[in-house]
């Protein structure tokens, strides 16, 4: 029994230690965001990597999400004769919830993993130490550009995902469910509020920060060659995905 309790305690303390290390890492990174030197070229490259090259993946997932959403809500609403709400539900669900969450999960798999693998390889091949010996702060050079780019690029991606997702719902609504195109668009425009979109974009900024933070943190602390880099990559994707869903529910409570 005591043995069991000791084990639970150890796991709990290990969790607290990890959370504390992560918090220190994040604070340290944030403090470096404010102090020069800055690396605008590196930041621009990350912005292109995250924002531009993720467009196909995010666009496709958003399109199918919007289409499925319209189909499924038709199934549900036809039972209570409320098909008129389909345009509204697609618009609200995509902008508030599915756009930010699904786009961020895709970016976590694409970008978070790439960051962890790149920084992790730099760690295990001494390239991070080499940066330090060349009078360059690795936080400023590696971590800050990724954090800033993630926080800026993911909301922009989500804005695109919102539009494509609603378009997906529109396609299904007009071609399959025989809505009038003008009426569908009119309803979407009438019922969609600015707050819906803005709250989704705020979430997206938080998720973008989480994705970059997890990628950098796990890469930065990877140990032990190829196996360590593989583990860092896995942890970065898993922890970013879980944190995205946790913060999604927390932020939904705060932002309604």
């Amino acid at each position: 029994m005591l043995d069991f309790l000791a084990r639970v305690g150890r796991v709990f303390f290990a969790f607290l230690t990890a959370a504390g290390r992560l918090a220190l890492f994040a604070l340290n990174a944030l403090s470096h965001c404010l102090r020069p030197p800055f690396y605008p070229r590196l930041m621009a490259r990350q912005l292109i990597d995250i924002g531009y090259y993720s467009l196909p993946v995010v666009g496709l997932t958003a399109l199918f999400t919007g289409m499925v959403l319209a189909l499924q809500s038709n199934t549900g609403f036809s039972r209570v004769n409320a098909q008129g709400a389909i345009a509204l539900i697609v618009a609200v669900a995509v902008t508030r919830e599915l756009g930010p969450v699904i786009a961020s999960l895709m970016v976590a798999g694409r970008i978070g993993a790439a960051m962890a693998a790149e920084i992790g390889t730099m760690r295990v091949t001494d390239q991070i130490d080499a940066l330090t010996t060349l009078a360059t702060n690795p936080f400023k050079y590696l971590v800050v550009p990724r954090l800033v780019a993630g926080t800026i690029a993911v909301p922009m991606l989500v804005l695109v995902a919102d539009i494509i997702g609603i378009f997906g719902g529109f396609l299904v609504g007009t071609y399959k469910l025989n809505f009038n195109a003008a009426a569908y668009l009119g309803q979407t425009a009438d019922y969609l509020h600015r707050d819906d979109v803005v709250s989704g974009l705020v979430k997206a900024a938080v998720f973008g920060f989480i994705i970059a933070l997890m990628g950098c943190y796990h890469g930065y602390h990877s140990r032990g060659g190829a196996e360590g880099v593989g583990a860092a990559t896995m942890y970065s994707v898993v922890s970013a995905s879980i944190l995205i869903l946790v913060f999604d529910s927390a932020l939904t409570n705060v932002l309604f």
Partner: protein, 258 residues
């Protein structure tokens, strides 16, 4: 040795968990001196230089560089101090996302704020100094052989003309001829720069070529130090065993029986 040593290390200790790696290192390194630290694998050589560079935080002790205590130094000051250092890593540690000349020029552009065009000129000149032509500058590090990577890493370490250069196992993994080429380059670079050199190695050919003075580390302590000429007749059984590479002697390799 000069009147005021460049680096003074006193009572340096570092442990990883229960494993004591450095157990009270005392070492003076003179200005314009080439010191080679020898010792077996796992004796703490790499940890020692990482402490000097500030890549690891020691548990106790003092490191003074130019008479200034560097342990516990504020981050900003530490970053400025790094400009005095050049480091050649064991695995070269070239940035694989950058071209060769950008690697060599990295410290000049990022650390010193020299403009890219001018830094490129200096980088190509340093590549020439290690026997690599300007066409190599446009390649990626992954396109080079191990010996060429080592030479690029050497060019990068000396590009910003540091006062202290550290070589971590500079010849490990190279064929004997390339190892000798690297040794010659190290001797030339240190002489041309007029700086202080600290090398860690267990390659005795390298030691005989590049050392002015030698210090032997064993179980986290410096057990012997002296000029190169004294090494052969040190009278120290540990040193004798090491430099002649004998399995029998006071240093017992912990080989577990199967």
């Amino acid at each position: 040795m000069g009147s005021s040593p460049k680096i003074v290390i006193r009572g340096l200790k570092k442990s990883f968990g229960p494993k004591v790696v450095l157990d009270g290192i005392d070492l003076d390194i003179g200005e314009r001196e080439s010191l080679v630290v020898i010792g077996g694998s796992g004796s703490g050589k790499s940890v020692l230089v990482k402490c000097v560079l500030g890549l690891l935080e020691p548990d106790a002790g003092s490191i003074k560089i130019d008479g200034k205590e560097v342990i516990g130094m504020p981050v900003r000051e530490r970053e400025r101090l790094m400009q005095k250092f050049g480091m050649l890593f064991q695995g070269s540690a070239l940035f694989d996302s950058l071209r060769v000349w950008e690697n060599v020029a990295f410290g000049l552009i990022q650390g010193r704020g020299i403009e890219r065009g001018a830094a490129r000129e200096i980088a190509l000149q340093k590549l020439g100094a290690v026997g690599l032509g300007p066409e190599v500058g446009e390649l990626r590090p992954s396109e080079l052989s191990g010996g060429m990577q080592k030479r690029v890493a050497l060019a990068r370490a000396i590009a910003a003309e540091p006062e202290i250069i550290i070589f971590d196992e500079p010849t490990t993994g190279l064929d004997p001829i390339m190892a000798d080429v690297i040794n010659d380059l190290i001797v030339d670079c240190v002489r041309d720069l007029g700086g202080t050199a600290v090398s860690i190695t267990h390659d005795m050919a390298s030691v005989r070529k590049i050392a002015d003075r030698i210090a032997m580390i064993y179980k986290g302590r410096i057990i012997w130090s002296g000029a190169k000429a004294e090494m052969e007749r040190s009278g120290n059984p540990y040193v004798d065993q090491f430099i002649h590479g004998r399995a029998e002697g006071p240093i017992k390799m912990e080989v577990r029986a199967l």
